[in-house]
């Protein structure tokens, strides 16, 4: 087991479970700079999974989108709460759980994330709304629960299925 402290992050524990699978738990106060730090620590922590470059960028992108959503929407950029991130390597990829104590999702359900339409005239192109499309496109088994005052979002990223090219 290795403990890797990062600035302003409450806790990061990396465990190598039997069978060499990786489990990470990270708790940090939600701010944009902390999301960056958390992603950096997480990607280092997942090093033992030997993900290929494509898989690694998928994990970083999905986690960035989810953590940014919590920061911007659940906590409304007020930097008032904590984010808890659990990642666990499984046979089917990377199982992820993100918990926060911010506002619930609108209508208590995660946005559908409609596919962007590149055929709109340029001036009509939205500059946002891509996040949930990417999350839904790159994950499976996505579930959302509102537990008392917490949001719990769980999903799986199907990575590490092919032999690593590293």
């Amino acid at each position: 087991m290795r403990i890797e402290p990062i600035p302003q992050c409450a806790e990061l524990v990396e465990e190598h479970l039997p069978g060499n699978s990786v489990e990470l738990r990270l708790v940090f106060p939600c701010t944009q700079p902390n999301v960056r730090r958390a992603l950096s620590s997480t990607m280092s922590g997942l090093g033992a999974m030997n993900l290929c470059e494509d898989d690694s960028s998928t994990v970083e992108l999905v986690l960035a989108e989810v953590l940014n959503n919590v920061t911007e929407h659940a906590y409304r950029d007020e930097a008032t709460g904590m984010i808890e991130l659990h990642l666990k390597q499984t046979e089917n990829g990377l199982s992820c759980r993100v918990i926060d104590n911010g506002q619930c999702m609108p209508r208590n359900s995660p946005p559908q994330g409609h596919p962007p339409n590149p055929n709109r005239p340029l001036e009509m192109q939205p500059e946002g709304g891509f996040g949930w499309f990417l999350i839904r496109h790159l994950t499976s088994d996505l579930t959302y629960m509102r537990n008392a005052a917490s949001n719990v979002l769980s999903f799986r990223i199907a990575v590490g299925q092919s032999v690593s090219r590293n």
Partner: protein, 121 residues
């Protein structure tokens, strides 16, 4: 956030000197691009070769930078790394930009070497 620009007669090159274009700098990037391209020539080439990671906020800021140029000028992209290219492809936003493999390809046919008037920001 650090950017560098080089000005030529009918185009300019903006090079982003950051390895991430993400939610933490997206707004700043878009605002800076607006200031830098106020009097821009018809072609603005954004060199993203240093950028290793782009999220949807970064993508939105690049689209915003393109919209700020209006209809008479174009934002072209160069040097997309695989993780950056993936975000453009998945969202199909790769189809609304002219994308060059690298800056040298973007400058082909301009009769210019890369020696414009350079400024760092």
């Amino acid at each position: 956030m650090q950017l560098e620009t080089a000005h030529y007669d009918d185009f300019m090159v903006v090079t982003l000197l950051e390895d991430r274009l993400d939610a933490a700098i997206a707004l700043d990037f878009k605002d800076t691009m607006r200031d830098l391209t106020l009097d821009a020539p018809p072609r603005v080439i954004l060199d993203l070769a240093n950028v290793r990671f782009l999220d949807s906020s970064g993508l939105g800021a690049v689209i915003g930078a393109m919209k700020q140029l209006g209809n008479r000028r174009k934002l072209e992209l160069a040097g997309l790394k695989p993780a950056v290219d993936k975000v453009f492809r998945l969202t199909r936003m790769d189809t609304i930009f002219v994308i060059h493999p690298d800056l040298a390809s973007a400058l082909e046919g301009t009769g210019t070497s890369q020696t414009g008037q350079a400024h760092a920001y």
